[in-house]
Each structure stands twice: as structure tokens, then as C-alpha cells.
Amino acid sequence: MSRILITNARVVDPASGRDDPGAVALDGGRIAIVARGHDPRLSDFDATRTIDARGAVVVPGLVDLAARLGEPGSEHTGLLESELAAAVAGGVTSLVCPPDTDPVLDEPGLVTMLKFRARNLHRARLYPLGALTQGLKGEALTEMAELREAGCVGFSHADVAIRDTLVLHRALQYAATFGYTVWLRPNDAWLGNGVAAKGPLATRLGLSGVPVLAETIALATIFELMRDTGARVHLCRLSSAAGIELVRAAKAEGLPLTCDASIHQLHLIDVDIGYFDSAMRLVPPLRQQRDRDAIRAALADGTIDALVSDHTPVMEDAKHLPFAEAEPGATGLELLLGAALKWGEATKLGMAKTLAVVTTRPAAVLARSRGVAESRQGLQEGAAADLCVFAADESWTVDGTTLASRSRHTPFARYEMRGRVHFTFVAGALAYEAAG
């Protein structure tokens, strides 16, 4: 096992809020030493490799609660390999993938195989969500206990809305029986079918609109079912100011609830669709400025627990179609850090609090969903050595063709991003090192 020493670093621990010059030593897959200033233990540490970070930030590896990897379904194209490489290139060391694969993740064998294949690639840690219903058809429950044993960290219906409220009720009851967390994107099955957010832009362009009601009605239903069943829920990718208000009230009431928002909703609005730019065809659709402002504020005040990349590989041709026919989604794993830093800088939050939304806060959501204790998370001695080392002041221009991801489409193309990942460690092993 390699023993790695990272010196001349800026050690940022989002959990404690500490941000000091220092060094970090990794040994046996764990963080052996976190040194702030001079630490006599460092001189005794016999490193197999010493990295001079030259002032770069050392932070716990990023945790992305929503990243699709195209597998099962694309084994022949090797997408799992490229997308897990994209994860570590973006500093992401753990990611949660939804079950809307082909076939759907509703069989323990599929989950076992996916985890096995991911583990053999030695990149990021992969935490699959199992399907809440068989085939995501919204009819029959899956074998949740079996899926859990195979490695599912929770149960989700991905972007497929459950039409039958009785089935959703039963699914929450059953999941609550075992204490499993149910991951739901609040979207009404009937109102939520448009390709853009309802509003002046969709009206002008003649695009079918998803009203805010699609989110708020779904949230109201979910909260009532949570009150009745006691189920724990993680809400995926909130999109509206009104939705966030409902979440804030539900959290104040004490419902066992966490939620996330994606980098797209954090930075973009419907007007960015411009002249039918299919890179902006996203699920959920981009809403108005007041919604974006509410998401930015809620992420800062903790109402929204985590920022996610919503990484969705979309192949080249699938976007070269009229807006409504274009496949929704965008590459995002390599943009998560930059998107967080861009927001943090504008919000003047400081480095530690900014990084918390992509590290310790999503890690806490994941730990609760996995049912593991939260001790020794983040930058603590004895914690797993999942780390990201990035230069905070190095800027780069987003260009889909230079990303490790095989999916090139992103609404952030040509954006100036700050924060360049130099090294990513997973379980103490070097999983990514930037060229040059």
C-alpha cells in the first residue's frame, strides 16, 4: 500500500470549517496525519511518494448524489470506464447513480455486476439506487431487502413519475419498514410532461411547459405520505422557489427529509435556451430567475443539502434534433467543482462552506441513506483517504471535447471555470493525476 505525503497544501475541512496551510499523509487507505502548520509526526512519515501541492487545496473527495453512467445498457461502448474516469477527473470520489438504466436496476444480480465492474476500474466509489418498482413501471414493488444486500443505498423512481398514489404509498410504507431512504424527484405524472418550464420563454418559443404546480403538487403528496408512513425521503433536483418554500416548511416541521439541486438549476435559467439551444434541454427544465435565486439562497442556508452534477451521458447525435426531440441531459461530473466554486465566490461564502455542498453535506445524506455512522467523515485522521487536490485560482474554459466524459454536451460550454483538479485519491490510491 502506498504511503503518500501531500505537503505545502491548503487544508480545507468543510465539516469543521477549518482552512489552514498544512500537509496530509495517507497510509493504508486512510488519512494518517492531518497537519496544520508544523507537525513533528511528518518527519517520521516514510512516504513512498511526496507531492508538493504548491498551495493547492486539499479537501475530502467530492460526493455526487446524481450521476448516470449509462450502465447497464452500454457495456459495449465502455461508458462506465469513461464516466468513472470523468468522475475522478472532476475530483468526485463517490457517486450515486439512479436506477433508470437499461435494463432497470430492479434485480440484485444487476446491482452486484455493476458494483463489481465499477470496483475493478479503481476509480470513484459507485453507490447505486435500486428501482422502487419493478421496471420503474409504478406497479409492483421490487425486492428491496435483496437489492439492499446487493449494495443499493436507497430506492428511487429516477425521472419516471409514479402515477398511482396507492403504489407510492405502499412503496413508502414498505421502505419505511426497513428504514430505507426513498429518493424521489418531485414531479407530477400528468402536469410534468413538457420540455421547458412554463413561463414567458416557453410561451414565446411555443414549447410545451411544465408548470411549477408539477413540483409543488408532487411535494405536497410526498409530504402527506411521509407523515403517514414515517418514511425517510431524499428529494432530487428541486427546480422552483415555491417547491423550496414547501421543503423549508416540511423540514421545520421535522419530517425526515433531505434534498438536492443540480448545477444547472444553480446557474442557468430558461432564457438561456436562446434560439432553441438543445444543450439547455434538461430535466427538470430550467426555470425563471426568481427560482434560480431561491435555489442559490437555499443551498447557502442549508435548506438544500447538496449540489449534484446530474451527469447524464448524451451521445453526439442525440442533441442534434429539434429542441423537444433532443435527448435531455448534460455531462457534469467534471463541472461539479467549478460550478460550486463559481456559486461560492458569487455568494461570498468562503472556501470551506462552499465546498461543504459537494463534500460533507452530500456525504451525510449518503451515509444516512446507507445506514452507516457518520463518524470519521471528511478530513479527519482515520477517515477513508478519499481526497481531491485542486488549484483554487487556476481557471479553465469549459470545452466538451476536452473532457474525460464521452458525453460532450453541456450548457456550460465556453464558461470560464475556476478550480482545476490536480490529484484525486480514492481509498488512499491515486485515481487521477492531471497531465502536466
Partner: protein, 320 residues
């Protein structure tokens, strides 16, 4: 953001494609209408041809069926002496197997000079304009619910012909506005040309309140909507909307929002009645009104040829 230039204008703000009326300067619209006026006389001559597009190939690409609109474009192109090739690609390109952009690349390789595009998806002509060869011009002949700019322009030509001055008018657009590309084009053209009152009239299912953001007055009452109007534009009610969650029945729609003589009497005595066709007699409009003194529905068709000739000749004369 990036690249947000209006894609239908070149660096000198000249029209190179006609994709939408939105964002076009008033002077451009007036220029098209003036040019159409000069072509009107051509259409009345014995030899109805001018050589402006001689040697040019115009491809009619209709991904959605419309014999009538396709024919008007065909006539307009032929009167400009262009060679016209009609391709009826009735269903969306993806359903056919070949992708939309592959179709465009193939036709570009046949040295097309102009594409006239009808497509069921909003924005499809933008995609084509973005990806076709630089010398090729694109005319939107109707895309989804988004835009039908030549229809909008021929409606403006008709209004100007009968009413002369846009800046004193009240125009009522009645019917299924939410799904109508004609209504959107009319609204953009009317606001650009300075019409002070544009009313969108219909039930809340077809005329949602957020249309106000396009600069129109929303009326859910027919009498209020047509009272003292100078121009009434009736929209076709699509068959699939005549019953279901949008409307209970064609009969009830005619009773509440159909234009008959009694409702027309509420408008100004010299009001004109327009309709983009094809007409559903007895659904959105009474036969007596269609055939009555105030109807200008057939002149609209005649003006439509001249307007399409104007659009094609203008964009063909501008280089990217």
C-alpha cells in the same frame, strides 16, 4: 450568454433566413410588405413570371403535411422562375430512420439554394439554418407551435391593405392561441408594427394568462373580445382539440367563441374578418360570416403568394 445574435440576420442586419417575426425590425417588415405590393401586379399579368430566382433551386421540405401551404410556396417560387422540388417527408425525420441533419446535408449536396421548411417541432428550422451550407437560405413555413412568419406577414399585408395605418387599430385574435404558431407570428408582427391593442380571445384552456407577457390583452369573453375591434382574426380549431380536456365539444365552442353575425355586429361596422384557413364552418366561424361582406379570407390567399415571393426574393438577394 454566447452566440445570441438573431440567426436570421447577417452582420449588416439584413434578412438571410426567415425563421420568426420576433426580433425583426419594423423597417424589415415594412420592406417585405412594400416588396409584396410590387409583386401583386405580377400575379395579375398574363405571363405571371419574373426572373429573380432564375437558376435557383428551392426545396420544399414538409416534415408535416400541408398541401395548401406547400402549394402557395411552390407557386411563389415558380413565379420567381426558380426550380421547385417538393419533398413530402410527412413524418418527423427520426421516425424515417435518417436524421434531420443527414437529410439536410444530402439536399445541400444537391446544391439547393433555399429550403422551405414545415416541421411539427418548434425550433426545427433554427436547427436547419444552423447546420446547412452558408449559402443556403431557410424559410420557416410553420414549426410546431412556434412560428409561421409568412402567414403573419400576409396577415399584416391584408390589414395594411384594408386599414392603412396600424397605429390606430384594435385587433382581436380569437381561438386556440396557445397551440397556434399563426397567433404567435401575428402577435409579434402587430406589436412590431405599432398596433396599440391586441386582444387574445378564448377560454382559459386555450388562452392562458401568461400570454399577457407577449403584450396582448387576454379576454375570456367573446363579446368583450370583439367589441369595437377593427380586425378579427379567427383561428382554426384543430380537430383533436374539439373534445377532451381542452374543450367539451365543437358545438359549445361555436356557441361561446364562434364568430356569427350577432357577435360580429359588436365590432366596428367596417371591421374585417380574417382566417388563416382551412376553415371549419360552423365550428369557429359561421358560414354566413365566411361568405359575408366583411370577410377578407380569399384576398388573404392572394396576398399570400405575393408576400412569399417578396420573402424569397429578399433573402435570396442577401449574402451570409
Amino acid at each position: 450568454m454566447f452566440g445570441r445574435r438573431n440567426p436570421q440576420l447577417n452582420a449588416n442586419d439584413e434578412l438571410i433566413h426567415l425563421l420568426s417575426i420576433e426580433g425583426l425590425p419594423q423597417a424589415t417588415l415594412q420592406h417585405i410588405l412594400d416588396t409584396a405590393g410590387t409583386f401583386l401586379s405580377v400575379n395579375e399579368r398574363d405571363v405571371k413570371k419574373v426572373p429573380l430566382l432564375r437558376g435557383k433551386s428551392v426545396f420544399n421540405l414538409f416534415f408535416e403535411n400541408s398541401t395548401r401551404t406547400r402549394t402557395t410556396f411552390e407557386i411563389a417560387a415558380k413565379r420567381l422562375s426558380a426550380d421547385v422540388i417538393n419533398l413530402d417527408i410527412a413524418r418527423s425525420s427520426t421516425a424515417k430512420g435518417e436524421s434531420l441533419l443527414d437529410t439536410i446535408a444530402n439536399l445541400s449536396a444537391m446544391h439547393a439554394d433555399m429550403f422551405v421548411v414545415r416541421h411539427s417541432e418548434s425550433g426545427a428550422p433554427y436547427l436547419i439554418a444552423q447546420h446547412c451550407a452558408p449559402h443556403v437560405h431557410v424559410v420557416n413555413a410553420g414549426d410546431g407551435r412556434h412560428s409561421h412568419p409568412t402567414q403573419g406577414l400576409l396577415d399584416m399585408y391584408t390589414i395594411r391593405h384594408y386599414k392603412h395605418d396600424f397605429t390606430q387599430l384594435t385587433v382581436a385574435i380569437v381561438g386556440d392561441i396557445v397551440h397556434s404558431r399563426v397567433a404567435r407570428s401575428d402577435i409579434h408582427a402587430l406589436t412590431t408594427l405599432g398596433v396599440p391593442e391586441i386582444r387574445a380571445v378564448g377560454p382559459k384552456t386555450l388562452v392562458p394568462g401568461d400570454l399577457r407577457e407577449m403584450g396582448v390583452r387576454v379576454c375570456h369573453d367573446m363579446a368583450e373580445g370583439v367589441r369595437d375591434a377593427d380586425v378579427i382574426i379567427m383561428l382554426r380549431l384543430q380537430n383533436e382539440r374539439m373534445s377532451g380536456a381542452m374543450l367539451p365539444s365543437a358545438g359549445e365552442y361555436f356557441k361561446t367563441f364562434g364568430l356569427d353575425a350577432a357577435k360580429l355586429a359588436l365590432a366596428k361596422p367596417d371591421a374585417i374578418v380574417m382566417h388563416p384557413g382551412p376553415i371549419n364552418r360552423g365550428v369557429e366561424i359561421d358560414s354566413a360570416v365566411v361568405d359575408g361582406q366583411q370577410s377578407v379570407i380569399l384576398p388573404q390567399v392572394t396576398f399570400g403568394i405575393a408576400v412569399r415571393m417578396a420573402v424569397m426574393s429578399i433573402i435570396a438577394g442577401n449574402s451570409p
